[in-house]
C-alpha cells in the first residue's frame, strides 16, 4: 500500500471550525505532493451541497474552498452513503465529482494514514 492519507470531515461546514482546518490539512499534504483524499461523514456531508448561500450568516462559503480541492491535487472526495441519506443529500444537489461510499471503514483501511481535525 503506497502511503496515502484520508482526511475525515465529520463536522458541519458552519457552526464549527474544525472542518475548515481539516481541509487546510488536506491542501497542505497535496502541496507537498503527498497522496490525500477527503471523506465526508456525519454532518460533514453538508459541505458537499451545491449553491450554498452564506451572506446572511456573514461567513465565507466553504463551497469555493472545496471546489479548489482537485486543483490543489486532492485525489478524491468521498461521501458516506448513510450520512447522505440521513441529511437528504442527493447526487443532484451535490457538487460535481463526489464518490459515494457504502463502507467508510473499508475506505479507511485502504489508506495508510487517517486524520480528523478535531
Amino acid at each position: 500500500m503506497s502511503k496515502s492519507t484520508l482526511i475525515v470531515i465529520d463536522q458541519p461546514p458552519y457552526g464549527a471550525w474544525a472542518g475548515r482546518e481539516a481541509l487546510d490539512m488536506a491542501f497542505s499534504l497535496a502541496a507537498f505532493d503527498q497522496r490525500v483524499s477527503l471523506l465526508f461523514m456525519g454532518a460533514g456531508v453538508n459541505w458537499l451541497r451545491k449553491s450554498q448561500e452564506t451572506s446572511e450568516i456573514e461567513q465565507k462559503s466553504v463551497e469555493k474552498n472545496l471546489s479548489a480541492a482537485p486543483v490543489f491535487g486532492v485525489e478524491k472526495l468521498y461521501a458516506d452513503a448513510a450520512a447522505c441519506d440521513q441529511y437528504s443529500l442527493f447526487p443532484e444537489s451535490m457538487i460535481a465529482g463526489v464518490v459515494i461510499t457504502e463502507s467508510s471503514s473499508e475506505l479507511i483501511r485502504q489508506h495508510s494514514h487517517t486524520a480528523f481535525a478535531g
Binding site: K3, D24, M25, L29, Q34, H113, A117, G118
Partner: protein, 138 residues
C-alpha cells in the same frame, strides 16, 4: 513477550487545555512512550491545541499548569513543540516576529514552543513511524 519495535512518534494536539483533556492525555502518552524507549520526534499543536503554547495561561495554583508542564517536558527531552501559524494567529497566539509583522501590542508564545506552518505536520506524517492525534472531542 516479544519486544515492541521502537517507534518514533509525531503527536498532534487539537484540543485546548482547560476545555479538553487532550494536552494532559498527550503528555501522559509522551512520558510513557519515552519511558518505554520510544522517541517523540515533534509535537504539533493545531486548531484549539495552540492555546497550550500561550505564556499567559494562569490556572489557579491548585490546578495543573499544562503549558508549563509541557514546556518543561519538551525542554528536558529536547523535543520540538510547534504551533500551526494559521491556527495560532486566528486565536491570538503570536511570537515576536508576528507581533512586529502585524503591529500587535504584545506577544505571548511560551518558550520552547515555536510557530511554523502545516508543513511541519506533513513532515511528521512522512518521517515518523506513527502519528497520534489528541482531540478535544465534543
Amino acid at each position: 513477550m516479544a519486544a515492541i519495535p521502537v517507534q518514533n512518534y509525531t503527536l498532534v494536539i487539537t484540543g485546548a487545555p482547560y476545555s479538553s483533556q487532550a494536552p494532559q492525555t498527550a503528555l501522559l502518552f509522551a512520558e510513557a512512550a519515552i519511558t518505554a524507549g520510544h522517541t517523540v520526534d515533534r509535537v504539533f499543536l493545531y486548531g484549539d491545541g495552540v492555546h497550550l503554547a500561550s505564556a499567559l495561561v494562569t490556572p489557579p495554583s491548585d490546578e495543573s499548569h499544562w503549558p508549563a508542564l509541557w514546556a518543561k517536558f519538551l525542554t528536558d527531552n529536547a523535543i520540538p513543540g510547534i504551533a500551526c501559524i494559521a491556527s495560532a494567529l486566528r486565536r491570538g497566539l503570536v511570537n515576536e516576529s508576528e507581533q512586529k509583522r502585524y503591529a500587535l501590542p504584545a506577544s505571548n508564545l511560551l518558550d520552547p514552543f515555536t510557530i511554523a506552518g502545516l508543513g511541519e505536520w506533513v513532515e511528521g506524517t512522512m518521517t515518523s513511524s506513527r502519528v497520534i492525534y489528541f482531540h478535544g472531542g465534543g
